[in-house]
């Protein structure tokens, strides 16, 4: 080989080395950039995966869980590791049938199903399932589920509220109808009492005159008839007890009027929030609920001075009614060998920026295992027909969600329970003091 040819070959080889070095550099840079883009893309997808509020599951063709996101763990109470490989039927009893249907090309979109959490409680969910081809080219299923519990609870609350509103309107109507006749009954009893009082004076004067009449002033037969009539009418007894009967009748009329007024006030339909006197609400509710507690408990009121509080007064009445009825039930459930009544204490006060109402009972307290669940919808320890399990759930929703307040409790075994309603005082309130009732 000639020297020139060797030189050309050497030159080609050196050029090849230079090109290859440049290629390696370019490839290394491209690989780095590609890795960066991949990592960024992966991070982005992980973020979506992590913050997705819906439960996301990847299921294999044979119905085993392949992957889940954090929302799935939150919803079902299983860790990711516990979920992986789990048969779908354990989480979703009808899941296998659904997957079979989706595999034939019928996608599932927004259907309501029930899933089973780790504590074996059914959870209503809105599920969508689509088929997808996995990284290993096998058919898989992408399953998205939204928790429907809150929506269901809202629907239940709405239905319950509508029912209460209807009952309230009915009660207000009945109260109004009773109120008018009660007014003229009261007026007429007043009239009769005044008239009776006058008649008694007339009868007294006649009685005195009769006793002082000279012998023979009236015919003996007339005198006998008057004495017979006097005795038949039991005039002495009527003169003695008549005024008391009128007082009792008027007292009864006053009590009915008070109950009717309380019912009207209690069932007053609430539109927007309005300043309300919570102490008055407490007294009104106690009047309405009297039948629930009067045979089992005495009520002690310790009402402090409260400013008017911006609230839905009808809703607050409802919460107070729930707490008072619960207190009466708690006292009734506690064995009372001596038949002595229990005690319900209702206190009101201002604590910093909140108005606080405390309803205490002298019942047996709430068992430790029950305490975490008492605000759960549909949870009740009462027998069928006595409790719906809605009272405390609704009460907390009213206080917390509608008023931005809180409903909490403290309980002590065999000593009783106190529920605390705390309502924020309206900002900038001039805090006019509505005097506590004496």
């Amino acid at each position: 080989m000639s020297e020139a040819a060797l030189a050309r070959k050497l030159s080609r080889t050196e050029a090849k080395v230079a090109i290859l070095e440049q290629m390696i550099e370019d490839k290394t840079r491209a690989l780095f950039m590609s890795n960066e883009r991949l990592a960024s893309s992966l991070d982005y997808q992980r973020q979506i995966y992590r913050i997705l509020p819906e439960a996301l599951l990847i299921l294999t063709l044979d119905g085993a869980v392949k992957e889940v996101n954090a929302s799935t763990s939150t919803l079902l109470g299983y860790t990711r590791e516990e979920c992986i490989g789990m048969p779908v039927e354990r989480l979703w009893p009808t899941g296998a049938e659904v997957l079979q249907s989706v595999a034939t090309g019928v996608a599932l979109s927004g259907q309501e199903h029930s899933w089973i959490a780790s504590n074996q409680v059914g959870i209503p969910v809105l599920v969508s399932v689509s088929a997808l081809v996995g990284r290993d080219s096998r058919l898989e299923f992408l399953c998205l589920a939204s928790d429907l519990r809150e929506r269901k609870q809202r629907e239940t609350e709405t239905r319950h509220a509508q029912k209460l509103q209807s009952v309230g309107q009915l009660a207000a109507g009945v109260a109004h109808e009773i109120n008018t006749p009660m007014q003229f009954i009261g007026d007429n009893v007043h009239f009769l009492r005044e008239s009776f009082s006058g008649l008694l004076e007339v009868i007294g004067a006649l009685d005195e005159a009769f006793d002082t009449l000279p012998q023979g002033a009236i015919a003996e037969s007339q005198a006998t008839r008057i004495r017979d009539l006097w005795e038949d009418a039991d005039v002495d007894y009527v003169r003695e007890r008549g005024p008391q009967a009128f007082s009792r009748a008027l007292d009864g009329v006053a009590r009915v009027s008070k109950i009717v007024a309380a019912m009207k006030s209690f069932s007053h339909p609430g539109g927007s929030k309005a300043p309300a006197d919570l102490n008055h609400a407490i007294e009104t509710t106690l009047t309405v609920a009297a039948n629930e507690y009067k045979y089992v408990a005495d009520v002690e009121l310790q009402l402090g001075e409260l400013p008017s509080v911006l609230c839905h007064c009808g809703d607050i009445n409802q919460v107070l009614l729930n707490l008072i009825v619960n207190a009466a039930h708690a006292i009734d459930d506690k064995p009372r060998p001596d038949g002595e009544k229990g005690k319900i204490t209702v206190r009101s006060s201002v604590e910093g920026d909140v108005a606080q109402i405390a309803v205490s009972d002298s019942g047996s307290g709430i068992p430790t295992d029950v305490q975490p669940r008492i605000f759960e919808p549909f949870f009740t320890t009462k027998e069928v027909g006595r409790g719906t399990g809605q009272g405390l759930a609704l009460s907390r929703s009213i206080i917390a969600d509608k008023h931005g307040g809180s409903l909490t409790f403290e309980t002590e075994p065999e000593r009783g329970t106190t529920f605390f309603i705390r309502l924020p005082l309206s900002p900038g309130s001039d805090r006019p003091r509505l005097g506590a009732q004496p």
Binding site: M1, A5, L6, R8, K9, A15, K16, L20, M23
Partner: protein
């Protein structure tokens, strides 16, 4: 065409006719590529045909024969460089039927810009196979050499008949293959 094929062609010429022959052939070729060919690079197909045609003319070998010989030379070199392509295959038929679905896929992983021919297969019984070859490069002569090399690689008597050819105006080339029994290879 990938640079590795250009490099194999250069090696083929050097091994057969020496460095000076390659030097002279390259000097006579009006190539579009001005820099030396390197394996991972991608170059115009026309440059490969220019070098092959020039070599054929310079060395006095007809172009089809030159391409056939180059195919027979190149295949074992490629398998030596990428041993994984051969792994798992104990006979020529098994290997050939993996070329399009496995080897070409792997080639694309290594060289994303590679343009590979399209192979389709018809099974013609235990000892037979029909391969359809489609490529705008029309390198069926190269393929013939490679088929012969595959037979030798697996120690099999591999007979083939080309029943259709792109050069005759067919839409694809068709090779009907018949495989003899595998023989143990003697070093």
């Amino acid at each position: 065409m990938k640079g590795i094929i250009f490099n194999l062609l250069e090696d083929f010429i050097v091994e057969g006719w020496g460095d000076e022959a390659l030097d002279e052939i390259l000097a006579l070729c009006p190539l579009k590529t001005k820099e030396p060919f390197v394996g991972p690079g991608t170059y115009p197909d026309a440059d490969l045909f220019t070098i092959a045609t020039q070599a054929s003319s310079k060395l006095g070998v007809p172009l089809p024969d030159a391409l056939r010989a180059f195919g027979k030379y190149a295949l074992p070199k490629l398998l030596a460089r990428y041993p994984s392509f051969r792994e798992g295959h104990t006979d020529a038929k098994s290997f050939l039927t993996s070329v399009h679905g496995v080897i070409h896929v792997e080639v694309h992983k290594l060289m994303p810009k590679a343009v590979t021919p399209n192979f389709t297969y018809e099974d013609a019984g235990p000892g037979g196979l029909i391969i359809h070859y489609e490529s705008s490069r029309k390198l069926c002569h190269l393929m013939e050499g490679m088929l012969e090399a595959v037979g030798e690689e697996f120690g099999q008597d591999l007979q083939y008949v080309q029943t259709r050819c792109l050069h005759d105006g067919d839409s694809h080339c068709e090779f009907a293959l018949h495989f003899g029994a595998a023989q143990s290879r003697v070093a």
